[in-house]
Assembly symmetry: C2
Homo-oligomer: 302 residues x 2
Amino acid sequence: MNNLNFKHLYYFWVVAQEGSMTRAAERLDLAIQTISGQLSLLERQLGKSLFAAQGRGLALTEAGRQALGYADQIFQLGDALVEALNSSDNENTLRLRVGISDGIPKLLAYRLLSSVYKMPLDVRLICDEGEFETLLADLALHRLDVVLTDRPAPIGGNLKVFSKRLGDFATGIFGSVSLVDRTKAGFPQSLDGAPMLLPTRHNALRSRIDRWLEQNGVRPRIVGEFEDSALLNTFGREGLGLFTAPLALAEQIAEQLGAQALGAMNGVSEHIYAISNERRIRHPAVEVLCAASPQDETPAAV
Amino acid sequence: MNNLNFKHLYYFWVVAQEGSMTRAAERLDLAIQTISGQLSLLERQLGKSLFAAQGRGLALTEAGRQALGYADQIFQLGDALVEALNSSDNENTLRLRVGISDGIPKLLAYRLLSSVYKMPLDVRLICDEGEFETLLADLALHRLDVVLTDRPAPIGGNLKVFSKRLGDFATGIFGSVSLVDRTKAGFPQSLDGAPMLLPTRHNALRSRIDRWLEQNGVRPRIVGEFEDSALLNTFGREGLGLFTAPLALAEQIAEQLGAQALGAMNGVSEHIYAISNERRIRHPAVEVLCAASPQDETPAAV
DNA sequence: ACCAACACTTCGGTTTTATCGGACAAAAAC
DNA sequence: GTTTTTGTCCGATAAAACCGAAGTGTTGGT
């Protein structure tokens, strides 16, 4: 419980700025007695005195100086709030602040988010990328409305969040044309010794890929590990190695990266989760996003 | 004037978190009528509705969603304030947050600040370095108590600040022993063609140096320009070129940088200013700092 | 289709809080 | 010493926050 009276804090802030209760009372159009009284109430509640008598004026104590720093930020935010609400550019547009975890394919994120544009409203997407933990923290602070990631939020964490699996996407192996030609015959055995780019172990998919490779008895030459899928794709486009991607994106990958599917990794699928704040009132666009039922774009196992 | 009622905002914040007025009323130990009434007052004052009726519950409007983001930060700061004040480590120590402009000699800053340690109190110095403009902004936000810099604050700026000249420091030319030996004879003519390190044009001293060089008819070879004086000193210590510094620091420069004074630059002196917030109640350590009267350590002109 | 349960609003009256006038104390200026 | 300035204490008053009772609209069950 926040036992801080912001009205009192505001008076304190003005007094500190003006340098005296008298001038603060003038600026606030109040009697000095009011300021004095409310200020001593604040000090009582905080358990610290904020001003010390100095001559016939006031001096800030160290506690007061610290409080002043916070008060500054607080009332600046208050002004910003009022201003943001009065700015007219947010009349008919719905803002959706999405955090996209580094590891998940950007094209997949795009496809999943496309559902929100079908809403009968102007939607402005505000995208942010970063590490899983960072994004969760931003979610808790309401800087984000939803996070798209490859794993559910840790249960029992100190953050109250809500994870919804958006879908399973069967994974395949892709590569530039030259690479694919060389390894097409005898898949998956042909992968043995072939150059390959993989996500780092931070990615939940990575362990599934490793297991699949082991079960199929192939040991590709791992030429790179990437935290960020977009970076991985760029390297893959240049023919540096084969890489994995959702089979559902085969068409776009061919168009944008000039890479073809070599084969499916049976049993390996990427799970995408939408993590949002667990409060009853959720963002309408997040509702739409989660409502897009977990339709497996391709069955997980063949 | 900040026409935002933070008490109302707090109720709004709890309602948004809990998802309903009923549950918020429970958490706040208030009747639902109160919440309802205070919330509609907030909406009236802001001129926007924050909630829209949805079914028998509530839904945040876009304005409400934006407000929620601000409220989050505001009440987090409020908690932080209370916590900071209750933490015991600030009992008998006075914190002085000083911003030191890139260009001014660090040793000079140290010497000027040493006066605050003579106060009959434990003083904890918190130093920050950076660009002039950045530091001024931090000053305005009360993240700093005073800024030490080489020029007064711009008059008529939108920030209300107070500049006090702390002193004029006659400047000389210094260099590593080998360099000084080579150019000692016939100073200042011997500077012609000598390698030299100078502050960039952002430094107020630079133009005075340039004028002095011109007036004395010497054209050194400028081998480097530095924004940061500490970096300049490091290069100077390695004998890369001659450099300028306050003559008053000759002793320390000899000790710490192994450099000797070559000669004085008559008429060139570094002005150091303390810029602080213009409010009546100033930091006691800042008072002490400014009280150290503008004693010219060496007269400006010989 | 109807009724009960639920969630919020509206309208008084009551309680709490904030505010101000008057009297007072302390420091500084004269 | 007197006056001026600045802040504090006390009691009355104005403003706000709060709650009980009654009312509207929505949902869900039968």
